[in-house]
Amino acid sequence: MTTLTLNQAINAGLRKAMEDDPKVVLLGEDIGTLGGVFRVTDGLMKDFGSHRVIDTPLAESAIIGTAVGLAYRGFRPVCEIQFDGFIYPGFDQIVSQVAKLHMRTHGQVRMPLTIRVPFGGGIGSPEHHSESPEAYFVHTSGLRVISVSNPQDAYTMLRQAIASDDPVLFFEPKRRYHAKGEVDLDLDLSRAPAMGAARVVSAGTDVTLVTYGPLVATALDAAKAAADEGVSIEVIDLRSLSPIDYGPLEESVRRTGRLVVTHEASETLGLGAEIVAAVTERCFNYLESAPVRVTGFDIPYPPSKLEKHHLPDLDRMLDGVDRALGRPNSLSGLEG
């Protein structure tokens, strides 16, 4: 095992994928000499050459669109979108081409793109640098969507994403880039948990708290704090946002009878909406209370001085847990 930060683990995953397959090429802005603004690609241009680690001109539509052409030619492109809020110029290529080409061509053309996106807030950035656009891509059929929460998953799942013959949106929690963890660099991918599998990261009995990416660490903190008050929270890290692995969620909610979903993205039509609906369909008779969403508000991302009010934190998660448990909470006394 090796201790790595999350960004170092992604770097290691990229390196391994490039060593294993000469058709893996990286495209993005400032990913070469600079090593990426978050240093995720640090050293890769030096070791693999500028024909495989490609500093592109500033054009996200072109980064995705040329990756489509490279994929047609048998390459496995890994695109870096520098910040979440910069992905939209490439949105058309992702939604209209990347997601649909396999079906459009009766399965004859595969699009094994990996599109890496540093996402989420909490780092004090200006506008367009802290967004959580994952729901747009989960809503788009034909894409697989991943969000990692720790260095080992980052290393393993990036390799799985690159190996996937389907296109994968790979969301990296930028405020956790420097979080350290133990990583097994010799991990055999064939023995690793499936890319689509959710994971129970903290066992509990009273309430099921579901999240992904940057908020997994916060949810674990919330579980610890709740334990001090005698409340047992089971925390589930979704890992895969498309498809969502409902097995562990169903199993958990059947035991706890209570569900809280939390994410940074806005509430309306966010992942929480889908998860609450699906779990309600599947576990209706087991639910003891209405499922709860603890999310960012339905607002454009606020200026950084106020982002702490937008981002679900430990206290807001615990308030949501209290609602699920019927304990006194901020909405006590309100109907609906």
């Binding site: 090429v25 802005e29 400032d30 070469g32 000499t33 600079l34 090593g35 603004v37 500028s50 024909h51 490609i54 500093d55 592109t56 001109p57 500033l58 054009a59 539509s61 072109a62 809020g85 910069f86 939209y88 110029p89 004090g124 950035s125 200006p126 506008e127 367009h128 640098h129 903190d221 919330a222 610890k224 704090a225 001090d228 008050e229 509430e267 309306t268 508000f297 339905d298 607002i299 454009p300 606020p302 200026p303 950084s304 001085k305 106020l306 702490k308 009010h309 937008h310 934190d313 430990l314 206290d315 807001r316 615990l318 308030d319 006194p328 909470n329 901020s330 909405l331 309100l334």
Partner: protein, 380 residues
């Protein structure tokens, strides 16, 4: 090979319009000269003063970022002539669509220092009213504003106005589809828009040669838009070229494109470390072409800048720096509930409900420590 390669044709070269050389000597340029024939030494001293002031703003803001008073700052060091020369070619009714780096333009246009800094402190997304002095707020999405300027100019043309819109953009932006589409629209509709491109040689770590294999100014004619490639560190050339473009726009001549060749002497932003990708030789080469030193020399050699005038300029810069610092440090934090403001122009049931719920949530902390700093278990 797949990688983009640096082009040799991206440093100053024949065809670069100039009125004041790097050493401060006058240069003859028949195309530009008529546009600044009226500019006297008093006005030149004014331009010098403004360049000195915005450089001081830049230093002060960089220092405030280092001290934790600003979250981020995008330096404009080295680009003072491009900013000051261009903004002075504009009339009050002209409308400016800037990038995030045109903070010197914003100051000279009338933006309050505290307003400018509020964005970089993280207190507000933007810090001025675009209609107060006809300047849109800083655009962060690379190149997006060129379409806005073109559309605004189309509106001016529809209304028969003689005003124009100007889009500021950088060399990196010229790779974005939006910029190309804006030039197509500008030409199709003969919109009175000026594309003012500051080629500062670097898009974060990517040299301009990676974005452009030939001088950027050469692209516009392909769209049917006349262009000029000018020395962007020569404030007089910048003023003249922008007046050339403005004259065309006001007289029904349609769009123009200016490539002002300059250099980003600082980092991309204070979060950037340029030592990772560029050498000192290049910096020294461009330091020798400094826009402020050049205009100062141009004035001094003819005895048009005495010690008293220099001292007055410095005193003004000192006063602006003090005002900036005080305004920044004294800036109140925005109210938490303001995150719900202005999402819509009218009531929105779902958002209103969220606002109500969050208000109740915050009320639960009344009388305790500040929200989000509570130890676990101290919540309501």
């Amino acid at each position: 090979m797949l990688e983009a390669t640096a082009s040799p044709g991206t440093s100053p070269q024949p065809g670069l319009h100039q009125l004041i050389a790097a050493d401060g000597s006058a240069v003859t340029d028949e195309l530009l000269a008529p546009f600044v024939a009226d500019v006297d030494d008093e006005q030149l001293r004014g331009l010098l003063g403004e360049m000195v002031v915005i450089r001081r703003i830049d230093f002060e803001a960089t220092a405030l970022q280092r001290q934790g008073q600003l979250a981020l700052w995008p330096p404009m060091l080295g680009q003072e002539a491009a900013q000051i020369g261009s903004v002075h070619a504009l009339e009050k009714d002209d409308f400016i669509f800037p990038t995030y780096r045109e903070n010197g333009v914003a100051y000279c246009r009338g933006a309050k220092l505290a307003g400018i800094m509020s964005t970089w402190r993280g207190s507000a997304n933007t810090g001025w009213d675009p209609y107060e002095f006809n300047m849109a707020t800083p655009q962060i999405i690379i190149g997006a504003q060129t379409l806005h300027a073109t559309g605004y100019a189309m509106g001016l043309a529809m209304e028969g106005k003689e005003s124009l819109a100007i889009a500021y953009l950088g060399d990196g932006a010229t790779s974005q589809g939006d910029v190309h589409e804006s030039m197509v629209f500008a030409a199709s509709f003969q919109a009175p828009v000026v594309f003012f491109c500051q080629n500062n040689h670097w898009a974060i770590s990517e040299p301009v040669g990676l974005q452009a294999h030939a001088p950027i100014a050469g692209r516009a004619p392909g769209y049917g838009i006349p262009s000029l490639r000018i020395d962007g560190n020569d404030v007089l050339a910048v003023l003249a070229a922008t007046r050339w473009a403005a004259t065309r726009a006001r007289s029904g001549g349609g769009p123009s494109f200016i490539e002002a060749v300059t250099y980003r002497m600082g980092a991309h932003t204070t979060a950037d470390d340029p030592t990772r990708y560029r050498g000192v030789t290049e910096l020294e080469e461009w330091a020798a072409k400094d826009p402020i030193a050049r205009l100062r020399a141009f004035l001094q050699v003819r005895g048009q800048l005495d010690a008293g005038q220099e001292a007055a300029i410095e005193a003004k810069a000192d006063a602006v720096a003090a005002e900036l610092r005080a305004g920044c440090i004294g800036m109140p934090d925005p109210a938490p509930m303001s995150i719900f403001d202005n999402v819509y122009t009218a009531a929105h049931a779902i958002l209103d409900r969220q606002r109500d719920h969050y208000e109740r949530y915050l009320a639960g902390f009344a009388g305790t420590a500040e929200v989000n700093t509570l130890p676990a278990g101290a919540r309501p």
